[in-house]
């Protein structure tokens, strides 16, 4: 394989990783947003404080992911975004409301704070639902027919549940005392819908897409592939069992969050395996959709220099705000 031929592959991997980091990192932000209405007024401040220093950078991964789609796979960008025109609009409205509510809620009049809290919840919900719907439409290759909307709707419901679970696990790690106990209860509550959703979607995916069906059920790949659902199941089970143990409130408070990250990563690997080498399933392969090698090389230079730097200062930022969330103040 020549370097020019490998370039689109490199960018597909980059885009995938950017999207994965977005889904995990903004996933816990959105999840915390979805749990907002279950918290008391004082607890809401802690919830926000736990994600306040990070959300901006987290959302930037979405810009990078969609930017790579735009820049490296312009044809796919056109197809995907015009197919998803309405859910994209709704997601953007949701992300806008969520993003500005972060700032408005602490700066506006005290009497307006509950309004911004509600908008924060509504924005998080709208964004998560639309993302789930878009994922569903994307996996099924934008298929037409009665079963496709049901499939997309199922994912639209399952994804917010997964975000809420991830958000609850984040809070178990970042909070203490009564709020932490509540977070454990929220995690238990969100666990079942996530498991049921994942099983249903795993069963339905090969049914809505023949391409995926053929990829999954061929020997000997099937045996190697079984690792993915097995590892996912073990991670989910481990997280659930740990929620009942006292140790999750102290030394092992980070384990549920890490286990759920593993679930997201495994799901992503499964998805990537299912649709490769397509960027739009059954329509456009990675190579058909890619920009010219010359343009990709120019961007690759920038990527090689800046991505390590981004990784370094992201780690730095997480270290600065390491440990339990404390009150945020401008000084």
């Amino acid at each position: 394989m020549s370097f020019d031929h490998a370039l689109p592959l490199i960018f597909m991997a980059l885009m995938g990783v950017a999207m994965l980091i977005y889904v995990i990192s903004d996933g816990y932000d959105l999840g915390v947003g979805l749990l907002m209405h279950r918290a008391t007024a004082e607890e809401k401040d802690v919830l926000i404080a736990s994600i306040g220093p990070f959300w901006d950078a987290n959302e930037t991964w979405l810009v990078l992911g969609i930017g790579i789609l735009l820049v490296a796979f312009p044809k796919a960008h056109g197809v995907v975004l015009s197919q998803l025109y309405l859910p994209v609009t709704l997601m953007l409205v949701g992300l806008t409301l969520r993003g500005v509510a972060f700032d408005f809620r602490v700066k506006a009049k005290a009497s307006d704070k509950p309004l911004w809290d509600r908008l924060f919840f509504a924005g998080s919900m709208l964004a998560s639902l639309s993302q789930g719907w878009m994922l569903g439409r994307y996996i099924s290759g934008f298929g037409e027919g009665w079963n496709y909307p049901i499939f997309a709707a199922a994912i639209a419901v399952a994804l917010p549940a997964a975000y809420a679970l991830l958000g609850a696990a984040w809070l178990i790690m970042k909070t203490e005392g009564e709020l932490q106990a509540k977070a454990i209860a929220w995690a238990k509550l969100a666990w079942w819908p996530v498991v049921v959703g994942m099983v249903l979607i795993s069963l339905a995916t090969p049914w809505v897409s023949t391409t995926v069906r053929e990829r999954w059920f061929t020997l000997p790949a099937l045996i190697a592939l079984m690792v993915i659902p097995l590892a996912t199941g073990i991670s989910l089970l481990a997280a659930r069992l740990l929620l009942n143990k006292a140790i999750v409130r102290t030394t092992l408070c980070w384990v549920p969050f890490v286990a759920l990250i593993a679930v997201f990563v495994l799901g992503f690997i499964g998805l990537a395996y299912s649709i490769y080498p397509f960027v739009v399933i059954d329509r456009l392969t990675i190579w058909e959709a890619a920009s010219s090698p010359a343009a990709l090389k120019v961007i690759l230079i920038g990527v090689c220099i800046s991505v390590p730097a981004i990784a370094a200062y992201t780690v730095f930022s997480y270290r600065v705000f390491w440990g339990k969330a404390t009150e945020l103040r401008y000084a």
Binding site: L70, G99, A108, A331
Partner: protein, 460 residues
């Protein structure tokens, strides 16, 4: 309505909303560094109070800029799918570099800049604040490079309708880029300085922030008074550059329907596209020729030389006059205001009330001038998306229906209107908070970690 008009309206609405906030944050990032530095060197709590309030303004503006910027990254594809297919080899890397070198830099260090006090040393905090300010400026660099390239394309070659890059230096430093970049940086500084002067004037009228408001007003008025003359010179150079590369834009701005010598500078007119003439024209003889060609008999090419290839006249004609008019008003107010405030010793109770009211009224004058200027330059590029080479109509989405675009447009407009009202309302509310309330969230000496970090900073 036509899908392409709706798509343009939607994109314009989003751009209009977006540009308001970077226009503030680009300059405010640097001015915040100045406030912080003054507090650390003078230990005058007035500077700390100013820093606190304006950090909040920065955080809020930044959040609004980020969310509308995300929307924009999607709208390239939803509204102009053909743009990336044809121009992707040029626009892609420029946008890619913007995200990689600037967007991440700003967003990554913003958390530390806003909430890092007491967790990092003053030196690290200053570095983080510097990187945020630097990031916003670099971001503007890339975006304006692309925008300028769309106005005055260079360094490329078109192969089978697809643009390929020949020379990246020529692409980035295309003929209009140095002018546009400088013009926009200055616009940001002026928008921010009038916002500072206006909000401080409002605080003085309300009798709050007696110590910090005069200091902030002094910074605002001084920056404005110094930079407006520079902006006028840069604007003139930018205009001459446009005359050279985009003559029909200038013809539309000046309302020159037919090529003429001794062109008058029209102060007022009603451009009439149907009759290709101006009604009720009031002008100063020969002045347009003099300004544009530096010769009172100089020839200005009229719109008649560009059939089917020139922008609509009325929005350019009016937009330009609004920009220049507001700019002249800002010049007069900043100079007179600086003089009057200086005579009053920059003291909150001696500065004339009338001046305070005028400054309050002009709080958002920078927004008006900036938007008017952007409208002139962007509408002035029509009917092309890449000037002279690619028409907007040829890259529009063909598979998205008008009702769909119309519906999302209505949704965006409602959202943006609500958010602008909320933004202005919250700025007013934050400014009216008494200063001692601002002091209350100061790190108390009992919290050893915070105090230690501050002391360390004062030594450094």
């Amino acid at each position: 309505m036509d899908a392409i008009i709706l798509a343009r309206m939607q994109f314009a609405a989003n751009m209009t909303f977006h540009i308001l906030f970077p226009t503030i944050t680009i300059a405010l990032g640097w001015l915040l560094l100045f406030f912080r530095w003054r507090w650390l060197t003078t230990r005058d709590t007035a500077w700390l109070g100013a820093y606190r309030l304006w950090t909040k303004v920065f955080a809020l503006s930044f959040a609004l800029g980020v969310v509308s910027g995300i929307t924009m990254s999607f709208q390239f594809g939803t509204n102009w799918p053909g743009f990336m297919e044809k121009v992707g080899n040029v626009a892609g890397p420029l946008l890619g570099y913007e995200v990689l070198t600037a967007f991440f830099l700003e967003a990554g260090f913003l958390g530390i800049m806003l909430f890092g006090h007491g967790r990092v040393s003053e030196r690290v905090h200053m570095t983080a604040s510097f990187l945020v300010a630097f990031g916003t400026t670099v971001s503007a660099f890339w975006i304006l490079a692309l925008n300028s390239w769309m106005q005055t394309p260079a360094g490329h070659v078109v192969v089978d309708g697809v643009f390929e890059v020949m020379n990246w230096f020529d692409v980035v430093f295309n003929p209009s880029f140095p002018y546009r970049f400088t013009h926009m940086m200055l616009a940001s500084a002026l928008t921010c300085s009038f916002l500072m002067a206006g909000l401080s004037a409002w605080q003085m009228l309300k009798g709050v922030a007696e110590t910090s408001a005069p200091k902030v007003m002094r910074v605002g008025l001084t920056v404005a008074a110094l930079l407006i003359p520079v902006q006028i010179l840069v604007g003139d150079a930018h205009g001459l550059n446009t005359l050279e590369h985009q003559p029909q834009k200038i013809a539309a701005i000046e309302g020159v329907w037919h090529t003429e010598r001794d062109a008058p500078l029209l102060l007022f007119a009603w451009p009439d596209a149907a009759t290709q003439s101006n009604r009720f024209a009031v002008g100063i003889p020969d002045l347009a020729s003099l300004i544009l060609t530096h010769d009172r008999n100089g020839e200005i090419r009229g719109l008649n030389e560009f059939p089917g290839q020139h922008p609509p006249v009325a929005p350019l004609f009016w937009g330009f006059r609004i920009m220049v008019g507001v700019g002249m008003l800002m010049l007069a107010v900043s100079w007179v205001g600086w003089w009057l405030a200086r005579r009053a010793g920059w003291s909150a109770d001696r500065i004339p009330k009338r001046l305070l009211w005028v400054l309050t009224g002009m709080t958002f004058s920078g927004w008006v001038a900036t938007l008017a200027g952007w409208y002139v330059t962007e509408i002035g590029r029509q009917p092309f998306i890449v000037y002279g080479l690619l028409r907007t109509a040829d890259v529009a989405a063909t598979n998205v229906t008008s009702p769909m675009i119309g519906m999302s447009l209505a949704m965006y407009l409602a959202l943006y209107l609500g958010l602008i009202l909320a933004y202005v309302g919250v700025l007013k509310y934050m400014a009216e908070k008494p200063e001692d309330l601002i002091e209350n969230d100061a790190p108390s000496p009992s919290k050893g970690r915070n105090a230690a970090a501050l002391n360390e900073g004062s030594v450094a």
